[in-house]
Amino acid sequence: MISNGRPIPLGEVPVVPLPEFRDRFLQAVRAGAHISAVFGHPADGRLTLYAVIGQAADGVLSVFATEVADGYPALTLVAPQVHWFERELWEQWSVRPEGHPWLKPIRWQKGGEPCVMDYFPVRGEEVHEVAVGPVHAGVIEPGHFRFQCHGENVFHLEVSLGYQHRGVERALAGGPGQRTLHQIETLAGDTTIGHATAYAHALEGLTETRVSARAHALRGIALELERLANHTGDLGALANDVGYLPTASYCGRLRGDWLNLTALLCGNRFGRSLVRVGGVGFDIADPMPFLDRIESAADDVEVAVNLLWDTPSVMARFEETGRLSRETAIELGLVGPAARACGVECDVRHDFPTGIFKFAHIPVAAASTGDVFARAFVRWLEIQRSITFLREQIQQLPGGEIRSTPGPMKPNHVVVSLVEGWRGEICHVAITDSQGRFAAYKVVDPSFHNWFGLAMAMRGQPISDFPLCNKSFNLSYCGHDL
């Protein structure tokens, strides 16, 4: 049991035999825990399999490990939320989860085995396949979608990714170096603050650096600004996808207003170079321009977004589209607004608070219907709550230095750092070697959990509603592919 951002010596992680690992795993999942990360780390010719499981009720994370050779009985069969992790394990380390129902790489080709472009086929006279991507009509990232359709209805959607794979995790091992923070900031470019904060927390834990209250508050402000910009942009994009121009036009501009606030804070609209290990790189000297801009943007967002709920033609498109049940969301281990829209009240800011969120509580925003409307409405609730948070924090910024100098990292430690990015739970796990460098650095972007949720939401839906469903999840391709 460890807490968010607190390192423990690697020797204290229980390495248990496989059957016990399996028992612990299943016990936690049955008790409703969420799997934050499962990954392999090779040491002394053996592969150690680590599991990081978040127990929201107690606010602690359990980390345990086992050693595996070529294969082991797949956990997916009894705990579906691990299915994507097990495919990743097989892809990265060639450890075969025996009995995995759909064992196929998630990013790159392995040669010989079922390959990334082999899709689950549906056969029959009237069934047809529709292939979309990897090159899309909009200015978006590449990814391939394969639909098995019956007329306009989708039986099954398979998402195949990997086009954005950059080998970031491998590049991070051996670090940190001069490039590391830049690599972290671009894990998913629209979640710069989220990932950088997770990284900074991990390193501050490993170096026992004390971060001032002011720096924590500034990070919180930047994190919520990032959430505001993206949620506002998403609501505008949802309006655009159903052809509703007013909200689409306003939100496009308003997203820019939030981004400009981040730029006012640090000179970059995406918050690059703001979060630093030991604190932040920029300070708010005069809170007045921030408060003024927040008020005017908040007023405009309210008008623009409420148009959505007041327009029957928009609601007719949002409601009942791409529905996911609460049970499915929990079984798949969804995170972020997509999970909260199904009534799963998970939010790292609430469950595993760090930094400013230990002191300033943001209520968890949830809905119950699990459709496009719910995913849009949860975003609207979060926009309102983030604005309230910003008002409070900027008015009462604590004093103090904004940055302290970190010392050397503790050798042979492991730290888990969770942050609620705007898409959901961001999980970074760092393991240090005997020299105090990264032996492994594991990143789990929220998109990693949620892509399959999109596939499930499309079952039985008209194919013409796919763009709308896709936008309501708005997942990252590069965050998944790393």
Binding site: A131, A137, E152, G243, S313, A316, P467
Partner: protein, 303 residues
Amino acid sequence: MNPWGFVQVALALLLSPLLIGVINRTKAFVAGRRGTPLLQLYHDAAKLLRKGAVYSRTTTWVFRAGPIVALAATLGTLPFLPAGGLRAVLWFDGDLLVVIALLGVARFLTVLAALDTGSSFEGMGASREVTFSALAEPALLLGLAAMGREVGSLSLSDMSSGLTAAKWFQAAPAMMLAAAALLVVFLAENARVPVDDPNTHLELTMIHEVMVLDHGGPDFGVILYGSALKLWVLGTLLVNASLPVRTSSVAIDAAAFLAGMLALAVLTGLIESAMARLRLAHIPQLLVGATALSVLAIILVLR
């Protein structure tokens, strides 16, 4: 034969792309943007006509014939198209069926060209287009039939010039129902909101646009101009049915007609600014609803 009818043909050829410009400017105005120039479509068509075309090896002559034949068929409707009080170049009893059949030919060739590519997107678009136009056609035919019955002729020119203000107001409820049905057909057939979204880049949601994805260069220019013409043709039918300004002066009639076309473009822009698209599965309900309006109009006229 009415030589003055060539004025209407010339107006259609010259002004139809302008209607699209007016629609786009209206949408931009409502959204608080400046918008594209009014003459953008002229520039686009001219630019595309100067380009080369790329043809997939999987396509045949059908794919190349599609845009040309569709444009030719749409052009073929112009001599039968009256403008308000102004008679068309040619008319005879039942010429409205010729116009609708020619529009059908244009659609048929567009659909064939789309199927010829063998792309799953285009096949999807073709199936949607055919499904929805099969439902839109009865609404159009029956709406025009209601007008024809009121005027006592099935020639578009007779119907249009015979529909004086006195006659229109005498059967106002029926004429309003028919006009409403024609408006729905106008929006559906021209791929406008709430049926289709001409601005979307999302292939999976498209109806008309997805059928022409593989056309490029001059072919695409011809398609753009052809759809502008189609907008003009169906708009003319709607304005003829809903704006009964029939004076003895050709100038006043023509001015009223042009004002009507302009107002229709602005109205289309406003509709697109004020509502979202329908879910694809609900479009048949809208079109069947339009047919019901036309049937009601006929019942009122027959009464």
